[in-house]
Structures are given as structure tokens and as C-alpha cells.
């Protein structure tokens, strides 16, 4: 029994480290990118992944499942809390924090997240998946929408982002 549990935990940890970048991208897109808020959402997503891992039947790709759980957790909101060692599920090293901060400070990346932040939660879900190379059919499966609805949404979001970018550039020029 203990050995089984140990195997499940080990598999979960490996899966989580593989999916780290997906989870952090979702966290950055759904928060104000402040480290404490990113960590709040990260821990919540990790807890939900652990909750679902034991019943996950590998009927879809692991990354799609991670995306689905992460996006649903992010959209549903999360409880802001100050984590101590007792309530932190996944340890996060200071190095990781520092590197993430440097990455988010990149001018182009911050501009991109600024545009994403102006979209609605539903639009953010779709655009994250689209940018990460998921097909319209896969996006429809993950978000629970129909393929034509996803196509329509992508077209609308692209236009919206372009307008937001032009507005932002206009402001900066002035």
C-alpha cells in the first residue's frame, strides 16, 4: 500500500515538473504577475492536479489535462493566502522566482501579458491554448465549446488584441 502510494507520488512529481512551464504561463496570464499572487495560483493548481491525478485515466494527453485543470482553477478564482512551510504543497526555489521575475521583466513579454490581461477570462483561456499551438478541435475539447465557436472566438480575439496594441502604441507615441 505504501509502495503504491510512493509510486503514485513519484509519477505525480515527474508529471508536475514536466508541466511546470504550462502552469506558470497560466499563472502569469491570470494574475498581476506579482510573485506572491503567482505562487497562490500555482499552489492551488498543483493541489487540484494532485486531487485529480489519482483518478486521471489517461484518456487524453497529460498536457491537455493539465491545461484544463489549470485554466479552470484560474478562471474559478483562488484564495489569496500567505504560504508557510506547513501550507505550501510544492516547494518553489528562490532561483525559480528570480528567473521568472527576469523573464516577466522582458519588454516584449510584459507587453504580451499586458495585452492578454485586457481580455476576458474566457478569451484568455482560448488565446493561451491557441498560442501554445493547440488545434481548434483540441481547444474546443479543453474548453468545452464547439469548434465553430472557437474559430469565431479566435478571430474576435485576434482583432481585439490588434486594436489594443494599436491603442497602446498610440498612447506610447504621445
Amino acid at each position: 500500500m505504501n509502495a503504491d502510494r510512493h509510486i503514485i507520488e513519484k509519477e505525480f512529481e515527474e508529471m508536475l515538473y514536466d508541466a511546470h512551464s504550462i502552469i506558470f504561463k497560466v499563472c502569469l496570464a491570470f494574475t498581476d504577475q506579482r510573485p506572491e499572487n503567482v505562487e497562490d495560483l500555482y499552489q492551488e493548481i498543483a493541489c487540484n492536479l494532485w486531487k485529480g491525478w489519482q483518478t486521471f485515466r489517461h484518456e487524453c494527453a497529460v498536457k491537455s489535462w493539465v491545461y484544463r485543470v489549470a485554466l479552470n482553477t484560474a478562471v474559478n478564482g483562488y484564495h489569496s493566502r500567505h504560504y508557510s512551510d506547513d501550507t505550501r504543497f510544492v516547494p518553489i526555489t528562490p532561483d525559480l522566482y528570480n528567473n521568472l521575475t527576469v523573464e516577466v521583466d522582458n519588454e516584449q513579454v510584459s507587453m504580451l501579458y499586458e495585452l492578454i490581461a485586457r481580455l476576458s477570462a474566457k478569451e484568455r483561456k482560448i488565446i493561451l491554448l491557441y498560442l501554445d499551438g493547440y488545434s481548434e478541435k483540441e481547444i474546443a475539447e479543453i474548453t468545452g465549446k464547439s469548434v465553430p465557436a472557437v474559430k469565431q472566438a479566435i478571430y474576435r480575439i485576434k482583432n481585439k488584441m490588434k486594436k489594443l496594441y494599436e491603442k497602446r502604441s498610440g498612447k506610447n507615441e504621445r
Binding site: S21, D86, R88, I92, G144
Partner: protein
């Protein structure tokens, strides 16, 4: 012609966005791969405790729903004044409880259901939103379906026969006998 130029402009803009995202994704992979090397122990006891707490939350929610449904059944029982209405109110209450149970299964259930799209939509609700939704279904709909006369909760009696206590007891006996047969 103008439309084509606009489309090309759109494509160029989004290609640029895509290339920024791709390079950001690659850097994120590198950052997280580097940090994945030093494995610290995960706090499973906390995560399991959190999971158990949520399970209890759902159990309590179900309990509340059942209590709400029973309470409504009692109200219906008190105000139901003929056998048809009595049976109807009980059936309605049973269907609401069933509906609440189905909602719970859809929202919180782990297993796959045939109506996956509906479940995907419902699972986007937070626990509190789902609670309100189910409470609304269980508590408000019976009132709407039977009407509210302003002097407390009463069933519209315009076309029903008013029964006294003895007649009501007889009606219950009749239903019980019918069910036994």
C-alpha cells in the same frame, strides 16, 4: 484589395505575437527544467487534508440540499389540500432532489458522463456559485411553480377542493393503499 491589405497586416501582427510567445515558452521551459533538478519533498499531508476538507464541504452541501428539500416537502404537505396536489407536490419535491443530486454529480463528480459538454460548462462554476445555483433550484422554483399569495406560502386553490384534517388523512391512506397494490 483593401481587405487583403488589412488581412496581411493582421497576419503580420499576429505572427509577431506568436514569435514572442514561442521564444517566451522556450525560455520558460529552460527556467523550469533547471529548477526541476533539485527535488524538495512535496507537502502531501497538506494537499490531502485540503482534499478531505473539500469532500466534507460537498457532503455538507448535499445534506443542506436534502434538508431544504424535506423542508419544502413539509410546506407542500401542509398546504396541499387535495390528493392530486398532495401527490403532485411530493413528486415535484422528489424531482427537485433528483435534479440537485444530478447537478452535484455533474459539477463535482469525477466519472465521465454522456453529457460532457454540459459538465464542462458546469465545472467552470466555483463551489459557492454552484451552491447558490442548486439552492436556487431547490428553494425558489417550487415557490414559482405554485405561486405566492402574499399571506405566506400557499398553493393556488382556485380549482381544488379544500379538505379538512380527516379527509387529508384518508387521502394519505388511499395513496398508501394504492402504492401497496
Amino acid at each position: 484589395m483593401k481587405k487583403e491589405v488589412e488581412k496581411m497586416k493582421d497576419d503580420v501582427f499576429f505572427d509577431e505575437i506568436q514569435s514572442i510567445w514561442d521564444s517566451h515558452s522556450r525560455r520558460m521551459e529552460d527556467i523550469t527544467r533547471l529548477s526541476g533538478g533539485d527535488h524538495h519533498p512535496f507537502n502531501y499531508s497538506y494537499a490531502n487534508r485540503k482534499r478531505r476538507r473539500e469532500t466534507w464541504c460537498y457532503v455538507l452541501l448535499t445534506f443542506c440540499l436534502v434538508i431544504a428539500a424535506v423542508r419544502w416537502a413539509c410546506i407542500m404537505w401542509r398546504y396541499a389540500t387535495d390528493t392530486t396536489m398532495l401527490v403532485l407536490s411530493l413528486l415535484v419535491e422528489a424531482s427537485f432532489v433528483l435534479m440537485a443530486a444530478l447537478c452535484l454529480a455533474f459539477i463535482f463528480g469525477q466519472g465521465r458522463t454522456p453529457i460532457r459538454r454540459l459538465r464542462a460548462e458546469l465545472s467552470q462554476l466555483s463551489v459557492s456559485q454552484a451552491t447558490y445555483l442548486i439552492m436556487a433550484v431547490v428553494l425558489i422554483l417550487p415557490v414559482m411553480s405554485y405561486g405566492h399569495t402574499g399571506d405566506g406560502l400557499t398553493i393556488k386553490q382556485s380549482h381544488t377542493t379544500v379538505l379538512n384534517h380527516t379527509q387529508r388523512v384518508e387521502a394519505v391512506h388511499t395513496i398508501t393503499n394504492m402504492l401497496k397494490q
